[in-house]
Symmetry: C2
Subunit: 485 residues, 2 copies
């Protein structure tokens, strides 16, 4: 059974169980990178074995650096939290791992996805080098070519940087041949992509056999993405306002290239778009979109993920894979998030945020200094896109806090990159407006009625300061005082 998926006979001797693999290769102080994004293609057996061995030893395995490629699954985070992780790169994780990051027990570093790939490739991170990359695959052919599952995320960079590679071949999934395009950017060479659907690389991964330390067969089911919730009325309204902006501003052509955000808002936006044909160029897309061939002409993504309750769409995608995979290209995010390609394709991007200030600066990663998830590809898309739309609900915690704030004390995306702000209240086209004019428009069109008065008061106070982009800590503290419940 297991050799049906490992056709290269020279690699069969490397098939081992996960416990043996971890015992053989995970010495104390190891640095390890895992594939997977939005819960998709996150290795399943190695994390379980790490947890089991940690339990057996009575103390956690000592991991110098843990690299993930994106948001993971609850199981992954639970397993990895049994280990003593010293430093972690990208996405703080959930539960205990995130708490340790905020406590400062884990040294955590976040990067834009495109930058991350490059720093991993160049060996700049992790300091001291990468020992092991663990990646999920669905098939290894006669020549040793490896077919990944539904994510290519940071895989090529991790594989190149790692001294050893462990491949988890997941036999619960079908063999997913033909949907991938593996291309690595070369210095001083244009990336030759001119169209969302264009393939320019290989349909599989090639890894030097000497680098492959172990092949672990997995029969585990894919978990849904831990980071996203199902859509609500709020996302429906925000999506409607995004569409209204596109139409009224004249930017809603028939052939737009869209990065539609992630999670529930992304689902709503594609559902409601009146255009018959759109192209999607993004870092993560719900597998549901792979079925929406009447709406999505073609799609390029680093990952196809499954929202909770949407497993049936994934099953249908698997069943109709040969037909549906024609319109979809899964690429590593050094390509999907490439500044070069995003600029060239004139992408309209939707960036979600935790809060946005009156001039348009957005915080996408921190709440009161505590990391939430991470910045993801926000700096890639917002910087290089044709139009950047920052979309968010106008309030948080059941209306207790305004997400439109006088000042963001943590800024990930600056006002210079934000063209439009959208909430469920409305949209504000900020292009060509000075900071103070932006502020007036955001307050009047996007903020929640419960906070409009206090935001106006703040702005009236600082507007007297005789400055181009005035800020006042005192006025900000007055605002905080007045909106307290």
């Amino acid at each position: 059974m297991e050799f049906d998926r490992v056709k290269d006979s020279s690699l069969r001797e490397k098939v081992k169980d996960a416990l043996t693999t971890v015992r053989d290769f995970f010495g104390d102080g190891v640095s390890v990178a895992f594939s997977g994004m939005a819960g998709t293609a996150v290795p399943k057996e190695i994390p379980k074995a790490i947890a089991e061995i940690s339990k057996e030893r009575g103390e956690g395995l000592d991991i110098r650096a843990l690299l993930v490629a994106g948001t993971t699954t609850n199981s992954f985070e639970q397993c990895m939290s049994t280990a003593h992780v010293k430093s972690r790169y990208l996405i703080a994780g959930g539960g205990e791992m995130r708490e340790r990051v905020n406590h400062g027990v884990i040294e955590f570093v976040d990067y834009w996805l495109s930058e991350y790939s490059q720093l991993v490739r160049r060996g700049v991170i992790p300091r001291g080098g990468l020992d092991i990359a663990v990646i999920e695959a669905t098939y290894i052919d006669e020549k040793g070519n490896i077919t990944p599952s539904l994510s290519l995320d940071c895989v090529p960079a991790m594989v190149q940087a790692a001294k050893k590679v462990i491949v988890e071949v997941n036999i619960r999934k079908p063999i997913l041949n033909g949907v991938h395009d593996v291309y690595a950017p070369q210095p001083r060479t244009p990336i030759p992509i001119r169209d969302v659907g264009e393939r320019v690389g290989a349909p599989y991964l090639r890894i030097p056999k000497s680098k492959i330390a172990s092949i672990v067969i997995s029969d585990s089911e894919e978990e849904h993405a831990a980071a996203y919730q199902p859509p609500t009325k709020l996302e429906e309204k925000i999506a409607q306002n995004i569409i209204e902006f596109l139409e009224q501003s004249g930017e809603a052509g028939e052939n737009i290239v869209l990065q539609a955000g992630v999670g529930p808002l992304a689902s709503q936006l594609i559902d409601q778009l009146p255009q018959k044909h759109v192209s999607v160029w993004t870092e993560v897309a719900p597998v549901k979109w792979a079925l929406a061939t009447e709406k999505i002409e073609n799609m390029s993504t680093a990952c196809l993920y499954t929202l909770k309750g949407e497993e049936k769409f994934r099953d249908e995608f698997y069943t109709r894979f040969n037909q549906l995979s024609n319109n979809i290209v899964i690429r590593p995010y050094e390509i999907t998030n490439s500044l070069e390609v995003i600029s060239r394709l004139q992408v309209i991007c939707v960036q979600q945020a935790i809060e946005v200030d009156l001039y348009g600066n957005a915080n996408v990663s921190h709440i009161d200094g505590k990391i939430h998830n991470g910045v993801g590809g926000s700096g890639d898309f917002t910087r290089a896109s044709y139009i950047t739309i920052v979309a968010l609900p106008s309030t948080a915690s059941a209306g207790k806090f305004s997400r439109i704030v006088p000042i963001t004390l943590h800024t990930d995306v600056t006002e210079h990159d934000v063209d439009v702000v959208v909430t469920e209240q409305g949209w504000a086209d900020l292009r060509g407006l000075s900071p103070k004019s932006r502020a007036r428009l955001i307050i009047e069109r996007c903020s929640h009625p419960d906070f409009v008065d206090e935001l106006r008061k703040y702005m009236n106070t600082v507007a007297k300061l005789d400055a181009h982009a005035p800020v006042s800590l005192q006025a900000y503290e007055t605002f905080l005082q007045n909106v307290k419940h």
Copy 2:
């Protein structure tokens, strides 16, 4: 005499004096864009005529939107301040113009240079369209091809967007044929540049003759760049620290591509670099570098500017133009600042800043909410570069203020894009470090001894907050109180 420089006989009837030109084409409510960057190639006669007519009328000409391409000259700003300018794009200017921007009399909007070009091309800014582009040139050949002077800045985008173009042919300068490369990015098409010196476009501008409204002959001398001062010991030390970082981190290869910053620091850095051969890919370069052929292998820039006191270098460049122009390409900044090309060439960039916070966020444009110059191309280079070095003196106002601050209340470049911070005190390599580790390193290696204790106190206070990137307004205010002189 004047027709020596306008060889196309069909264009000779368009040669007019500046006063007539302004009377004919500058109706009230006009929108106008001027070429020029770092004081170079800023039109001279039209601004003077605008000032003269404003004086004559007893009230200022009414200008709906004034677009400049970069920092200008004192004369330009003085002339334009005679007009009633409603809105201004890019670089707040000096003197009275800047004051009006901060007072809010002029609606001022700033963009990264690469973004600006694109928004002008697409007609997004200025709202209501661009009526006139005024550009400086040195020659028009028999076929009407136009040779610019030593800057291409935003010229192709402005010319494309404008309904009418006014060409100032400057006969005080030599004919500068052969140093330019005019190429416009096309949607869905790679920019084919693979090397700093590669030419991919035309050596001159082509403008539809029907668009040319007037040709004004100018015999005015070029002014030096208003924005920059000559170098001091401080810049010398900062440059030494940048070089020390490059060498100790192993990033100082023989073939590095450098964006060396602007003004006095840039001069110092190139002077002191031990490498025999470097390539320079930048938006503005001092004309002095054009003579440094033993050090600079080749150079690509949107503009060659002249620092005060360095006019002799420009004269030498003019004299040896045919030989020296072989190693230099002047491109529009939609190319020099293209995210695509900067990434591809793996540029090491030096970004100057007004202040930087303990996590690495940089403010490059505002002091207490008041605009200083503008963001320029900071977001282009810092985002796309291979390594981003933020360089600044550790203090301002003769040591009164620390430029290393607990919090930047205006952020243009976020921590995610800042790899290294350098002051005259030392350098901090922040790559792969968490926010709190970054803060410790910046305090210990880069801050001024007069402020180290208070910065440490701030950091010790917020470090107790149990957050990944803690901030505290209260601790910040205590810091401000304690460092007051």
